[in-house]
């Protein structure tokens, strides 16, 4: 039985590029609407990369352009170091992708659908059908018609289709759609295992929590622009510091803090105060807040720094964008 192979993950192989995906000034228009607007995107090899953005931001359009499903109006791009579209066939030979909802011929079985796709790939792809089905956990339903598959099973079949080419780069558009919690957990583990094998996984998702758990780096796209990109840890380091303070006399506590030069936004909540400090605020400020409250005769029951999450950071970034309009 044939098995999936381990790709060579050295950045200099084949094309010599360090980047799995590299775009410069990539633009795609639909009439007057610019869906992809001068995108500069660099996705390193061998990582899980989240691609985030609100609905209509142009996420799927960028993926379609990268894969040659539609042409770009301007800019350059390369996949795994191969310039696209010039060497599109060579690039896509090592790419697997799900774009939008994975759809297949419903009258064929899962295995037959994969046979159809494997026939369009290299001969070795046909021998990877069984292992791919096994890996995504639908081998026992491989000979059922796809029309009888649930949405989650189609997602799994879509991932199996991606694996047929033994890809170095997987582009998964909303792969968690239709999966139950256990399925999402398994999908997350599988993505991590793919990355552990040295493959690059680009994950486009609305589920920020899943992206945060799965990905090493992210890019946020809005109205066709990449507005932030980088490792999650670095991006979150630039997020605001949020404190939650449970104390006696919250009103007086708020007045006390507003009378100091500590800065930040203070909101009165049911259980206390919510304090948002600017990004990069030193930890000493937190101790100073505590000192001001105690010296003011306020009993502090709990003072907790809320860990910045990708979701909160995403909301901060997108809300700032909305405010500047």
């Amino acid at each position: 039985m044939s098995t999936l192979t381990l790709p060579d993950t050295s950045p200099t192989r084949e094309s010599g590029s360090h980047w799995a995906v590299e775009t410069h000034g990539l633009t795609k228009r639909f009439g007057d609407n610019i869906a992809v607007n001068g995108v500069e995107l660099l996705i390193p090899r061998g990582c899980a990369f989240g691609y985030l953005g609100p609905n209509g931001a142009g996420k799927t359009t960028l993926i379609r352009v990268l894969l040659g499903l539609t042409h770009a109006d301007a800019g350059t791009m390369s996949l795994l170091g191969y310039p696209v579209p010039k060497r599109r066939a060579a690039a896509l030979a090592r790419v697997g992708a799900i774009v939008d909802e994975p759809r297949f011929h419903g009258h064929l079985t899962g295995r037959q659908n994969l046979q159809l796709l494997a026939a369009a790939r290299e001969p070795a792809a046909r021998e990877r059908i069984g292992p791919a089905l096994e890996r995504v956990g639908i081998l026992h339903r491989a000979d059922d018609r796809v029309s009888k598959y649930s949405m989650g099973m189609r997602q799994r079949l879509g991932v199996a289709a991606c694996l047929l080419g033994d890809p170095q780069l997987l582009i998964l558009d909303e792969p968690m759609n239709g999966l139950d919690p256990a399925g999402m957990h398994e999908m997350r583990d599988m993505i991590l295992s793919l990355v552990a094998e040295g493959r690059t996984v680009v994950l486009s998702s609305h589920l920020l929590d899943e992206v945060e758990r799965t990905c090493d780096a992210v890019a946020i796209v809005d109205r066709g622009h990449i507005i932030r990109q980088g490792p999650i840890s670095e991006l979150l380091a630039g997020a605001s510091v949020v404190l939650h303070v449970e104390c006696s006399e919250p009103d007086r506590a708020r007045a006390l803090l507003e009378g100091t030069p500590l800065g930040g936004d203070i909101e009165l909540g049911q259980l206390g105060l919510g304090i948002t400090l600017p990004a990069g605020t030193p930890r000493d400020v937190i101790a100073e807040i505590n000192r001001v409250l105690v010296e003011g005769g306020i009993s502090v029951y709990r003072l907790q720094q809320i860990q910045a999450s990708l979701e909160s950071w995403f909301l901060q970034v997108t809300s700032r964008l909305g405010a500047t309009e």
Binding site: A90, L116, R121
Partner: protein, 397 residues
């Protein structure tokens, strides 16, 4: 419970193998066979195709076989030459085209409508080769189907053919030479004189007219009303001798031998082979045009409707109406071109009514040379393939 298992043990596979020609426009055998499988597994479509290409002629012939077996005097034999020409030119020709076009339109559009086109494009395989793979796959279905339907018709028409030749309303032995037919006519002079067609320019010689008027046909002497042999004579004319009557019968038989020699109990092997190839050509044209149109439009239903309109409405009209200013446009209709390649010996398609003689002189079709007809067919095949492939290459997936 389903699980996403760990990666299986890895082995080294050759990357970028020399066998991987995915940029090539030539489809691989695997692409063709899997595409064939994809089409063949469409049960509804396959049942419809089989019903039309095999079921309709089979049921028609079965009913005729049963009726003839139950009441042989009321219902003629199930097979024979006339049934063959009727089924071939009237049923298999038109329905074969429509069925092939339906399959072609399906093959040309279904990946798009069912969302598989995107998966296929992402493989990096040349879109042209993805398109071209559908041609042998589809033909691998439609050609055998038409062949089976045609074989059923041929088998019944040969093995259930009439045992006696019915020539101009008279049962005549088959395979007679001209002398043999004349001798037979002499022995059946009244039947021959009354039933066989016999037209002469102007008035027949007096002695022939005498015989024609004297032989009793139907309610009185002379030929029956449907068969006009010559000028009516008076009842008072002298009665011809038996020898004169036989001579006239021989004369009529000699005149009609040409028609007789082209009348068969069942189609000849040569005619069946030619007709089979002609039907396959029509089916291939239907499939290729349907494939191109389906790919161009991107959906099956409209493509099939357009193909039916072309075959059932436009082609018959444009093939028979001689419009001086549009004559070259009419000649560019593929249905007309294929009709011009119809084997001699068949009744003309589109109601031309050439009959068993296959005489081209009686064709009502817009005239077109064989060379032009072949060029038109090739142009349609190449043109629609190019259009369909171009659309597939340029289409957003």
């Amino acid at each position: 419970m389903t699980t996403m298992s760990d990666a299986p043990p890895r082995t080294t596979q050759p990357r970028g193998s020399r066998r991987d020609h995915r940029g090539s426009w030539v489809p691989t055998p695997a692409m063709i066979t899997t595409r064939f499988m994809e089409l063949r597994k469409r049960r509804g479509l396959m049942i419809a195709l089989m019903l039309v290409t095999i079921g309709i002629p089979a049921v028609f012939l079965l009913i005729r076989l049963l009726l003839h077996a139950i009441a042989p005097h009321s219902y003629g034999p199930a097979g024979g030459y006339d049934i063959f020409t009727g089924l071939v030119a009237g049923v298999l020709y038109v329905f074969g085209f429509i069925v092939a076009a339906t399959l072609g339109a399906t093959a040309g559009s279904i990946d798009l409508t069912e969302g598989m086109f995107r998966h296929l494009v992402v493989t990096g395989r040349s879109r042209l080769s993805l398109y071209l793979a559908r041609i042998p796959a589809g033909l691998g279905i439609i050609v055998p189907l038409v062949a089976i339907g045609f074989t059923v018709v041929c088998a019944v028409c040969v093995f259930a053919a009439p045992t006696q030749l019915n020539f101009q309303g008279t049962n005549v032995p088959t395979g007679l030479s001209q002398a043999g037919l004349e001798n037979w006519a002499a022995g059946h002079s009244n039947e021959v004189i009354c039933n066989f067609g016999f037209n002469v320019n102007g008035n027949p010689p007096a002695e022939i007219g005498t015989v024609l008027n004297a032989v009793p046909c139907g309610n009185g002497p002379g030929p029956s009303g449907a068969v006009v042999k010559g000028p009516a004579g008076s009842l008072g004319t002298p009665q011809p001798s038996q020898a004169q009557i036989k001579d006239v019968a021989r004369l009529i038989a000699a005149k009609d031998y040409g028609d007789y020699s082209r009348t068969f109990l069942y189609p000849s092997t040569s005619l069946m082979v030619k007709t089979g190839l002609w039907l396959e050509l029509e089916a291939i044209v239907g499939f290729i045009v349907g494939l191109g149109l389906g790919s161009l439009i991107g959906q099956r239903t409209v493509a099939v409707i357009l193909m039916i309109v072309l075959e059932i409405i436009l082609t018959p009209i444009l093939s028979r109406a001689h419009i001086a200013h549009l004559i070259n446009l009419q000649r560019a209709v593929v249905g007309l071109a294929v009709a011009h390649l119809e084997p001699s010996g068949l009744g003309f398609v589109f109601g031309g009514g050439g009959g068993p003689d296959g005489g081209r002189g009686t064709s009502l079709l817009v005239p077109e040379s064989t060379t032009v007809a072949i060029c038109v067919i090739v142009a349609w095949l190449v043109g629609w393939t190019a259009l369909g492939a171009w659309r597939m290459i340029r289409r957003d997936a």
